[in-house]
């Protein structure tokens, strides 16, 4: 019994000497950083009055007017058709939806350009004829976080041959 008591006393003494039983504190600092950058993004949405976009809700959407003819009786749903003596125009509304963060910008500008030359066809954005040179089609739209309706139209001369027509409108959105 006495031997056991000695051993215990020895162990406690060793532990106390090693500092394990002493009351000490430790501290550290974590230096966290976050760079909150400004950001702006645009997506295209189907307009309730227009054709249903392919890839709606993304920034790379498609608008298909379907099969059209100058003297067709009824165009596809969402497509409007007008005629003159020399050509016909099909059009459809679609929506742009611009979001922004990290910025106090109150409005944005919208530039548009055709990806390739339009040839005999005329593409218009809100009545503005598009070319392969980017041009400002909306100077200062204050409507962030809402669907903004626009109209895209395609004019086909009656002398143009039948067949597929395709082009891409590239948009550039810049915070003012």
């Amino acid at each position: 019994m006495r031997t056991t008591l000695k051993i215990v006393t020895l162990i406690v003494g060793l532990l106390a000497g090693s500092g394990l039983l002493s009351a000490q504190t430790a501290s550290g600092t974590l230096n966290a950083t976050l760079i909150n950058r400004s950001g702006i993004a645009v997506v295209f949405n189907s307009d309730p009055a227009g054709v249903v976009l392919g890839g709606a809700g993304t920034s790379t959407a498609s608008l298909n007017f379907g099969t059209v003819a100058m003297y067709m009786a009824t165009p596809a749903a969402g497509v409007s058709l007008t005629r003159t003596a020399s050509d016909f125009t099909i059009s459809s509304p679609f929506d742009t939806y611009v979001i922004i963060g990290g910025s106090a910008s109150a409005s944005y500008s919208l530039q548009a350009a055709l990806q390739s030359a339009s040839g005999v066809y005329t593409f218009k954005f809100d009545g503005i004829a598009l070319t392969t040179t980017s041009s400002v089609v909306v100077a200062a739209d204050p409507n962030y976080f809402v669907n903004v309706p626009h109209t895209l139209s395609l004019t086909v001369p009656k002398t143009a041959p039948a067949g597929a027509v395709s082009n891409t409108v590239n948009f550039l959105v810049t915070a003012n």
Partner: protein, 184 residues
Amino acid sequence: MNRSQANLKRAVWALLLTLFVFPRLAGAQTSGSLTVTANVQGSIGLVFDNNVNVGLAGFCPLSNAGTNNAGLDLGTASFAQGDNLACVNFSRPVPFYNVSSAFDVVVTKANTASASYRLAVAMSTVPPPNVTWLMNALTMTTAAQTLQAANPYGRTTETLRVQVRNSVPAQVLVEVITFTATAN
């Protein structure tokens, strides 16, 4: 670090943010693309129009001219007294009488290489006995018949004639005449 050093550090950070971060906010840009496609098909259109001589004898005005759903009033006629409209041509080859009026059919083409079209006509109902409806010299029936086999696109003048025998009871004669143009 004393308080003044801390304030100085904050000021430096604020300056750096102002110089390098905030200017980028106003010019933030993004892009998107919308691909537009359409499949253009050739088509032809047909409208009825007044003839250049409208108002003269034999050229009555159409109602709803310039559309593909027009009307032509040939007035009130009798074997004995002729027609009440001056624009209607009236003749009396006994025992019949004829009333007639000319108008234009305008057929246009778009996005097609077709050089001509075929024009067919048909009546909506079988007329009463001893009443004959003719388009130019063609006696019309309720079946579509070719009026012209290869018209060039543009304006052509057609004449509607109604031949009535004097034994036909008094009545209103009405027909809807369907014109069908088909690209050759």
